[in-house]
Every structure is written in structure tokens, then in C-alpha cells.
């Protein structure tokens, strides 16, 4: 097949008059739209939707899929993203017609099965995090963060404390943290990290005043390090009248080992699409379930799932609720997958998953630190951060070059240029589902890349060469935006 045919857009395959779908014959009087409603309400311009056959559709998107890397093809050590294997039984259960066909507004006596699942899942997530109850509504991690910040707002409003406008965010935090605090109406203040890569308690103390609403933290932090002062931090923030928010992006390191509730957090968001194995879908749908302690339970978004006797129901009667945060009840199909995973793994499996995730990360770290600079050399949790700064200074090879070279070797790149506190950062998260051979192969490739950096850096600059496309001109894309196909 010519490359031209291979690389077309679906619109470029369109042939006037071709159809890919047969609508059932109409069984009521076939009146024209203008006979039913006044013309002024009707569409004027035709759409340029494609006209293709079913075969065209299948081949087009099957070919597209083949231009995409994925977990099922190989190692995906993208830091902070927990790209673990997505079990197939999850897809089977999520596909059950008894779930998929449910309308969100049908009578609750006809949806007892899904409500039980939601209830049970909430209970289990509370156990893993050490919290009291929660909401499954948030559609994504960032949406969970927003919900978390709304708990802060609602709590202080109830206290009549309007002066608490400031949320602390560490300098190593995920970019969504400050953005979520900001769009929830808080002022964001950055807290510095110390020489160990952890939140500086000294710097934190500078910010503990009557304006403090609280702090957003992830633990282990974005360097993959467990915040050893977390108990003291929690005490200081609480004593100052503030609340603690736990960003659950990194929970995969500590299931059954350490619980945010026991660390002193008041509200926790989880990424079910990370820790609980639901697929990422190329950027969603995910689920950012949020768990809270007793103190914050009165402010849960409405509705929340509850149980009375043996009956499950959606409770809309929450007097101090923060309000509604989603149209309906969240990404339910994602919840079914996460629940399936929790049943499969059980308490022993979840704990083992965290143990092996940490084992894999430490193994990689030890095997790579001789060739790549490790700015914080200590035991890590589920991920660690290397720096390409020295390689850049010595050979002109930067973090992007290492990332692109990995693609050439058939491995996904790490997260690069994050966290911002490390120059030329490369963040690796192997997850527990990678075997030792997979890690050893990766180590070998990373060593080969380091060799190339010394001997033939130009070759690295050119990589990748065998991927569906080579390095893409991002500057042109941003300067001269072409964001849609245009009909000729």
C-alpha cells in the first residue's frame, strides 16, 4: 500500500454517496423536518462528515491503532502515571450489559446491583486510605483535586472562617495542584523542598498563619521519596487551623504499608486509572475518587451512595454539601473495572503490588545510577528521578534525546522535565507488573544510550528513525495552528 493511502484522514477517504451504516426503516409517518418544526429552527449548512463504508472505518482506525504504543505492547515507565498492566477480566466485567445499559435516572430499585458496587467500592477505598467515606463522582485526578479543594472551602465556610484563603503547594508538586487550588478560589503559596528532596519543615513554618487553609501533598512525593516528616507536617498544619489534602497519584507505592488517613490527611483523591489498574484510554476516561475523614464527611458532593437495611440508595439529602460536581455519578464503567481489580487482588495482592512496585523501582535506580546522575540517592518508593544535566553538559545530550532514543528501542519514554526542581529531569516508574527480564532489557538499553551519548551523540539527536513518524515540529504546530481538517 502506498504511504499516501496509509496516512489519510477519515475525511480524505470520503466518497460522495458511500454509506457505512443502515438505519432501520422508519415505521411511523416519514414527515420532513420542516413539516414538524418551523424552518428557522433547522440546520442550514450541510456537515462535511465523512461518507465511508464500514470496511473503510474498520481499516482506517485499525491502521491508526497500529501507529500507537501501549502497555500491552511493552514497557511504559512514564513516571507519576502508573502504567501498570490493565487486566482483561476488567474489560469483560465492564462490558456486562447489566451495567452498560443503565440509565442514570431510572428508579433506584432497578439499579441495586450498580449501587451495591459503588457502595462496596467506596468502603474498600476507605479501608486502603484510612478514611471515613467518599465520592466516586470526580472524572479525573484533576477533578478530584478540585473536589478536594471544595472540601476545604466548605469546611471553612461552615466554621465561619472566611480569612483562610491560602493553600500551600510544594515546589515539586504536580502542575494540577496549584491550578486546582487556584480555580477553587485559593491563593497558592509555594513551599520549598530541602536538600533531601522533601518538604522543608523550616520553610513550611513561615506560612502557618491565620490565612492558612491547608496544604496539598503527595506522599511519596514526585521524586519518589517518602516524606519522612509527614507526621510533624500534619501536626503543624492542623495546629495552625489548616487541612491536609493528599494527592493520590503516588498511592501505588504504599498500599497496605502506610495510609494517608494515618499520616494525618483529611482528604484524599485517588486515581483509579493509576493505582487500581483501569486503562488510561489515551488520556481518559479516568476516575478521581475522593475519600475524606469524619470531619469533612458533611460536605460530600451530592448525591452519595448509602445503605439502609439491605437497600442501597443515592443520598441527595446532605445539608452542608459542597453541591454537585458532575452531571451524574462519575465514570461508572471505570468504577466497575477498579472494583474488579480490588476483588482480584484482595488485601494480600494490593500490598504485594506495592511491595513489588517499590522493589522494581529500587532495582532500576541502583542499576542506572552509575551511568545517569541520581540527584537524591536514597531508597525510593515506586519511582525515582534521574537528571540528564551532566550528560547535556558533557555531550550535548539532553532528557528529550534520551526519551526519543528509548522510543527507537521500542520502549516508552519516562516523564521528562518534571518535577521542576530537578534540571533535565527524567522520572521513571516501572510498576509491579514488569518482570525482571523486562527491567533488565530496559537497563541494557539505557546503558547503550549512555554509550551512544559518549561516542556518537549525533546519532541520538536523530532518533527516533523507525517510528511511524520522526520528531515532530512542535514550534510550527503552536505558531501556525492547524487544529482541524478543512474541506477543499
Amino acid at each position: 500500500m502506498s504511504t499516501q493511502l496509509k496516512n489519510k484522514l477519515i475525511f480524505e477517504r470520503s466518497r460522495e454517496g458511500r454509506r457505512g451504516f443502515r438505519v432501520p426503516d422508519i415505521d411511523v409517518p416519514a414527515r420532513k423536518p420542516e413539516e414538524m418544526v418551523d424552518k428557522k429552527y433547522l440546520r442550514v449548512h450541510e456537515t462535511a462528515l465523512p461518507e465511508v463504508s464500514e470496511v473503510d472505518v474498520i481499516r482506517h482506525y485499525t491502521r491508526l491503532s497500529q501507529k500507537n504504543y501501549c502497555v500491552d505492547l511493552g514497557f511504559y515507565p512514564l513516571g507519576s502515571c502508573t502504567m501498570k498492566y490493565n487486566p482483561k477480566i476488567n474489560e469483560v466485567t465492564a462490558g456486562l450489559a447489566g451495567f452498560a445499559g443503565l440509565h442514570p435516572l431510572q428508579p433506584q430499585k432497578t439499579t441495586q446491583g450498580i449501587l451495591e458496587l459503588m457502595y462496596d467500592l467506596t468502603e474498600r477505598l476507605c479501608e486502603v486510605t484510612g478514611m471515613s467515606w467518599g465520592t466516586l463522582q470526580p472524572f479525573a485526578g484533576a477533578h478530584g483535586e478540585f473536589t478536594g479543594m471544595k472540601f476545604f472551602k466548605s469546611y471553612f465556610k461552615k466554621q465561619g472562617d472566611t480569612g483562610r484563603t491560602k493553600v500551600l503547594v510544594p515546589d515539586g508538586a504536580h502542575g494540577t495542584n496549584p491550578a486546582s487550588a487556584h480555580i477553587s478560589g485559593f491563593e497558592v503559596v509555594e513551599v520549598k523542598s530541602n536538600e533531601k528532596g522533601m518538604v522543608s519543615v523550616e520553610d513550611l513554618k513561615q506560612h502557618l498563619d491565620e490565612n492558612l487553609a491547608g496544604i496539598m501533598l503527595t506522599n511519596p512525593n514526585t521524586l519518589g521519596l517518602y516524606e519522612e516528616d509527614i507526621a510533624e507536617i500534619a501536626e503543624l498544619v492542623h495546629d495552625a487551623g489548616g487541612l491536609l489534602y493528599y494527592d493520590g497519584a503516588n498511592l501505588n507505592a504504599i498500599m497496605g504499608k502506610s495510609r494517608p488517613g494515618d499520616m494525618g490527611f483529611d482528604v484524599v483523591h485517588l486515581n483509579l486509572h493509576k493505582t487500581f489498574s483501569t486503562p488510561h484510554g489515551g488520556g481518559g476516561p479516568g476516575s478521581g475518587a475522593v475519600m475524606v475523614n469524619k470531619k469533612l464527611e458533611p460536605f460530600l458532593p451530592a448525591p452519595t451512595v448509602r445503605k439502609k437495611g439491605s437497600e442501597y440508595y443515592l443520598d441527595h439529602d446532605i445539608p452542608d454539601t459542597m453541591g454537585r460536581i458532575s452531571g451524574f455519578y462519575g465514570n461508572i464503567a471505570v468504577l466497575v473495572r477498579a472494583y474488579t481489580y480490588i476483588l482480584t487482588m484482595g488485601n494480600d495482592g494490593l500490598k504485594r503490588a506495592s511491595e513489588l512496585a517499590v522493589l522494581n523501582a529500587n532495582y532500576l535506580k541502583e542499576k542506572l545510577k552509575g551511568r545517569y546522575f541520581l540527584p537524591y540517592d536514597r531508597v525510593c518508593k515506586h519511582e525515582f528521578v534521574l537528571s540528564a544535566q551532566k550528560m547535556k553538559d558533557a555531550y550535548g545530550v539532553n532528557g528529550t534525546d534520551v526519551a526519543k532514543a528509548l522510543l527507537e528501542f521500542g520502549i516508552h519514554a519516562p516523564t521528562v522535565y518534571f518535577p521542576l526542581i530537578v534540571h533535565e529531569a527524567m522520572m521513571f516508574e516501572p510498576t509491579e507488573t514488569e518482570s525482571r527480564e523486562s527491567l533488565d532489557n530496559f537497563i541494557e538499553v539505557m546503558h547503550e544510550i549512555a554509550d551512544l551519548a559518549e561516542k556518537d551523540p549525533d546519532k541520538l539527536h536523530e532518533m527516533p528513525t523507525s517510528t511511524p513518524v520522526r520528531r515532530v515540529d512542535q514550534v510550527q504546530a503552536a505558531k501556525h495552528p492547524v487544529l482541524r481538517w478543512q474541506p477543499e
Binding site: H103, G113, A140, K257, G346, R352
Partner: protein
């Protein structure tokens, strides 16, 4: 034994020795003893695939379905087989956000096609890669309006938008010093005469919905001109299935188009996942929320797609970002794309027309044979609201005994609405036999 954990005991030992520790516990020694979790999580032990499947199947069977006339933002449409077959391709669903374009052209091109489709349907110039759902898309659209207009602090919205959208807006804007002002309705549609009185320099935009919560189509003739005179923006939310037949947002002169694409190939799934779509005029591009894919070239000059305009986003702008959206509903948006490619230009028109024809058939038959009245005499697409002589919830419950989900009692969405209003949705999937049964059942319930 855990099928997703590949390590043998021997391998674990060897790896620990390479790390230079004696046990896995040593790797967790950095957790202070005081807050270390001792003992076991109070959860059952892991189970085999068969046991897990049996449990899930039992839960699935503990739900009941009926012939559905439920709508209010979530509809029972035909889903072509292509959608499931292609969404189920592991290369799509087990990939992450396409940060590395060289190995993500599949997802990137599909998003580019999605953006094109949304622009075509809405007759607007730019679309993003998707938002969470139609309700949160409304919040993002209003934030976009505030961020794109100077010195504004007020959003107007019609009382005829979905009550849940209203509630999501209230939560979203409550702490942001943005005023939300509700404009009244008249005979089931926005009272457009009320707009003028509220306009001023402080108004960022007006949010309206058509078809609205009653299913009625609204007439926005002259509305965008009026708003633009005051430098305010028009935001129109529409069921995208309707756009196959009714006037698009761009054709009304809207600046921002939003809605929920669940009707395009996504199962009802108790409300999620669906997709929020947002499209806007070119002028608003730099403030658009969420991911956007652009076309560019690779080093060999070959067409390639890439995430672009990232200077807007949270990972660059942090607290100065105008939205915190990063993950969206990519796979569901892929489903929409496959759906629209499959049904195609003529198919979408035909489906939209059938929705209208069937809804009109049922509405007329109900009026004639069951003697019920419409809540307002307005044009509609595939959904209409009845004003019943009894409580709508009671009628719906009675009809459920006949295996029919008769519609949504509107006071269940918004307690301030009269309790006799029942909103009925009729899609192309409903047969004439089912509709005739509906009429019989309604007659029985009204007795």
C-alpha cells in the same frame, strides 16, 4: 498467586541482593514507625477470575432494564458494532495521554478528527480534545467567557438549561466572585425579552440550551447581536444528535458551543463515561481549556499530529492556568469519532430525522388517544414534556410495572419544578409497537 505479578521468589531474592538489602521490608524502612500500617487491610483475600466474574455478574443481574423513554441528558441510541470493535483495540485503550507523538499518532490523529467533527457539527472554528461531560463543559465554557472578556463578573443563564448543569455551575463558581444570574422562561423557552435588562459591561456571557430541559427548541434570532453589542458572549448547549437536523450553535451566531456526546455511540452506563464537547470561535482559542491536537510535520516533512498550544495548560502555567483539565475522556471521544465516521453525513441526518419523527408520532398519539397535554406548545426534537393530571413520578412508577421507563419526572431533577411534568425521550431505537404500548400503559396509569 497473582496473575499480574510476574516475580518468582528466586528473582526477588536476586533483585534484593543487587539493590543491597536483605528484605522488601527494608525498602519501606523510611516510613516512620509511628505511621506505618501494621497488620492487614480489612479486605477479603484475592480471588480467581471465575470467582470475581461470578460476583460481578450477580451484581449486573441485580439491575433491571425496561423499554426506555428516559432522556434528560442520557439517551438510548443504536450503537454500531464498529464502535465497540475499535474502542476495544488495546493499542487505543492501554495507552496514556499522547505525550510522545512519534509513537502516539493513532490517538493524536483520532483526536484531530474528533476536533474536526465537532467543528463541523457546531459550525464553529476550534474544538478541544474533549471535556468530562456536558455539565462540566458548561462550567468550562463560562470560565472561558469570563477569561476572554474584560472586567466581567457575571454569567447569565436561562432557567431552561438542565438543572444539573445549573447545580454544577453553582458549585464551580461559588467561591470565585462570579455572579450567576438566572433568566426567566416563558412557555417552556427562555424569555428572550429578559436578556436586555440584564446586559451591561459586567456580563461575560449568556448560557442557553436548545433543545432545552423540556426538550423544546429555542429561537435565538438576534440574540448574538444583542450580546455582542455589550461585548458579551453567547454560549449554546445542544444535544449533538439534534445538530443533524436543527440549527447549529455557529448558525445562531454563538461564540461557544457545548454539550454532551453520549448519544454518539456511548452506552448509557449509569451516566458515565460520556464526553463534554466544546467548540468556539478562533478568537477564543488561546483561552480554551484542555488538550488540543494540532497538525505539523516531522523531520522528514511528513504530516504528523501533536499536542499543541500547551502554554495554556496547567503543567506550564501552574496556578496561572485558566483550567486544571488534563485527563479528558479521550477513549470515549474516540468512540464518538468512530460512531460519526460510521453513520456518516447522510446517516446522521437520517437518524436525527427519525428521532424527530418518532417523538412527534408519540406526542401526537398521546394527545389524541390518552388525552394528555403538552406542558407548552413549542417545537421539539426527540424529547417533549407532558403536563399530567397526576404526579409524574406516580405515573412513571405505574408504567414501570408494564416494563416501560416512561420518562423523567422533572421535579426529581429540580424540586422547584411542578410535580406533574414528565419529560419523554424517543430515539430511533423505539419501535411503533413500543410506542403504542406506551400509550396504552399511560392510559392505564391515568385511570
Amino acid at each position: 498467586m497473582f496473575p499480574y505479578l510476574p516475580h518468582t521468589d528466586k528473582e526477588i531474592k536476586a533483585m534484593l541482593s543487587d539493590i543491597g538489602v536483605d528484605s522488601i521490608d527494608e525498602l519501606f524502612a523510611d516510613i516512620p514507625a509511628k505511621i506505618r500500617f501494621k497488620g492487614e487491610l480489612n479486605l477479603p483475600k484475592g480471588q480467581s477470575e471465575l470467582e470475581v466474574y461470578t460476583r460481578l455478574k450477580r451484581l449486573a443481574e441485580n439491575n433491571r432494564q425496561g423499554v426506555s423513554f428516559l432522556g434528560a441528558g442520557n439517551y438510548d441510541h443504536i450503537i454500531p458494532s464498529t464502535v465497540g470493535a475499535l474502542m476495544g483495540r488495546t493499542e487505543f485503550y492501554t495507552s496514556y495521554t499522547p505525550y510522545q507523538p512519534e509513537i502516539s499518532q493513532g490517538v493524536l490523529q483520532a483526536i484531530f478528527e474528533f476536533q474536526t467533527l465537532m467543528c463541523e457539527l457546531t459550525s464553529l472554528q476550534v474544538s478541544n480534545a474533549s471535556l468530562y461531560d456536558g455539565h462540566t463543559a458548561a462550567s468550562e465554557a463560562c470560565a472561558l467567557a469570563v477569561n476572554s472578556t474584560r472586567k466581567t463578573d457575571t454569567i447569565l443563564y436561562s432557567s431552561t438549561i438542565h438543572p444539573y448543569t445549573k447545580q454544577v455551575l453553582e458549585t464551580y463558581f461559588e467561591d470565585l466572585n462570579i455572579k450567576l444570574v438566572e433568566l426567566p422562561e416563558k412557555a417552556g423557552v427562555l424569555d428572550t425579552d429578559s436578556v436586555k435588562d440584564q446586559l451591561g459591561d459586567n456580563v461575560a456571557g449568556l448560557l442557553v440550551q436548545s433543545p432545552n430541559i423540556y426538550g423544546n427548541l429555542e429561537d435565538y434570532t438576534g440574540l448574538s447581536d444583542l450580546l455582542h453589542e455589550h461585548k458579551s458572549l453567547l454560549i449554546v448547549s445542544s444535544n449533538p444528535m439534534a445538530l443533524g437536523a436543527i440549527k447549529s450553535q455557529g448558525e445562531w451566531g454563538a461564540d461557544i458551543a457545548i454539550g454532551d456526546t453520549q448519544p454518539f455511540g456511548l452506552p448509557a452506563y449509569y451516566g458515565g463515561p460520556s464526553v463534554g464537547y466544546i467548540a468556539a470561535t478562533e478568537k477564543l482559542l488561546r483561552k480554551m481549556p484542555g488538550r488540543i491536537v494540532g497538525q505539523s510535520v516531522d523531520e522528514d516533512g511528513k504530516r504528523a499530529f501533536v499536542l499543541t498550544m500547551q502554554a495554556r495548560e496547567q503543567h506550564i502555567k501552574r496556578e496561572r492556568a485558566t483550567s486544571n483539565i488534563c485527563s479528558n475522556q479521550a477513549l470515549a471521544a474516540l468512540g464518538n469519532t468512530i460512531y460519526l465516521a460510521t453513520v456518516g453525513k447522510e446517516g446522521l441526518k437520517e437518524l436525527a430525522e427519525q428521532n424527530m419523527q418518532k417523538a412527534h408520532y408519540l406526542a401526537e398519539k398521546l394527545k389524541k388517544e390518552a388525552g394528555v397535554e403538552m406542558a407548552a406548545d413549542q417545537p421539539f426534537f426527540n424529547e417533549f414534556t407532558l403536563a399530567l393530571p397526576k404526579k409524574a413520578a406516580d405515573i412513571a412508577e405505574a408504567m414501570e410495572a408494564d416494563g416501560i421507563f416512561a420518562g423523567v419526572a422533572l421535579n426529581q431533577l429540580d424540586a422547584s419544578k411542578p410535580e406533574n411534568l414528565l419529560t419523554v425521550a424517543v430515539t430511533e431505537k423505539r419501535t411503533v409497537e413500543e410506542m403504542d404500548r406506551y400509550v396504552q400503559s399511560m392510559k392505564g396509569a391515568l385511570k
